[in-house]
Amino acid sequence: MAKNTIKVRAKIKGGKCVVKTLIKHPMETGLRKDKKTGKKIPAHFIKEVVCEHNGEKVCVANWGVAISKNPYLSFRFSGANKGDTIKIAWTDNKGDSDSIEATVS
């Protein structure tokens, strides 16, 4: 299991919780070739990102290979208070995963 791959900020702005997250991941498309060997680099990408607020899913992202390397995701939702818990979890096509919990500020 991957470790320390997620950075997340959740802040209340204008009554809404703004979540910004950065994930460290190669996001290989499977179309690129290794310049030295000429062989295709196998696809390696995040398929699903689940974002929860106090245990309730607020945003579920299904991604393909066309999301940039080291993905960035931002979304907003209402009904959050300072001190609430935000959980971000991802799973990739090789079954690797990571998750992190953050506090709304």
Partner: protein, 155 residues
């Protein structure tokens, strides 16, 4: 609840069986959201991808704003944000017409979430970026062309 309804459409019989359960049972279920559209992510034709996802490729324009650069210097990292004033947004889908596979990402949103998503995408070449918003069971779309000077999909 909307999530459950979508499951019924996508999963057919399985969904129908689940629908007979009380809603309270469905909501906390981690698998309640729609399954990962594996085949659609591999689909190479935009219209077919839309057809597979939504059952139609003819989606009317709606009040959706796509914020993306007019010219992207680097196709590997194109910042894109989608926002809409339409209420009751259930999902936002991003597609790039000229990419090897047009479907980029599909976001399922909780009723508490705003109709807003920002991310960074790869674009192989100059292409329209298409956003499809599903709100209260209806579909809306918008498109914005981004000119790419260096592709993001080559070696």
């Amino acid at each position: 609840m909307n999530l459950a309804r979508r499951d019924i459409l996508k999963l057919g019989l399985t969904g129908a069986a689940l629908a007979t359960l009380p809603i309270g049972v469905l909501v906390p279920d981690r698998s309640a959201h729609a399954a990962y559209p594996e085949a659609v992510f591999k689909e190479k034709d935009l219209d077919k991808a839309l057809q597979d996802l939504f059952g139609t490729s003819d989606i009317p324009a709606g009040d959706i704003k796509i914020k993306a650069p007019d010219i992207a210097e680097n196709g590997a990292v194109v910042p894109v944000s989608v926002s809409t004033s339409i209420g009751g947004v259930e999902s936002i889908t991003l597609l790039v017409k000229e990419n090897p596979s047009p479907l980029v990402a599909h976001f399922e949103l909780n009723p508490r979430a705003d109709g807003y998503i920002a991310t960074r995408i790869k674009m192989g070449k100059t292409s329209p970026v298409i956003a499809v918003v599903k709100a209260d069971g209806k579909l809306y779309s918008a498109s914005k062309t981004v000119k790419v000077t260096i592709g993001g999909c080559g070696g």
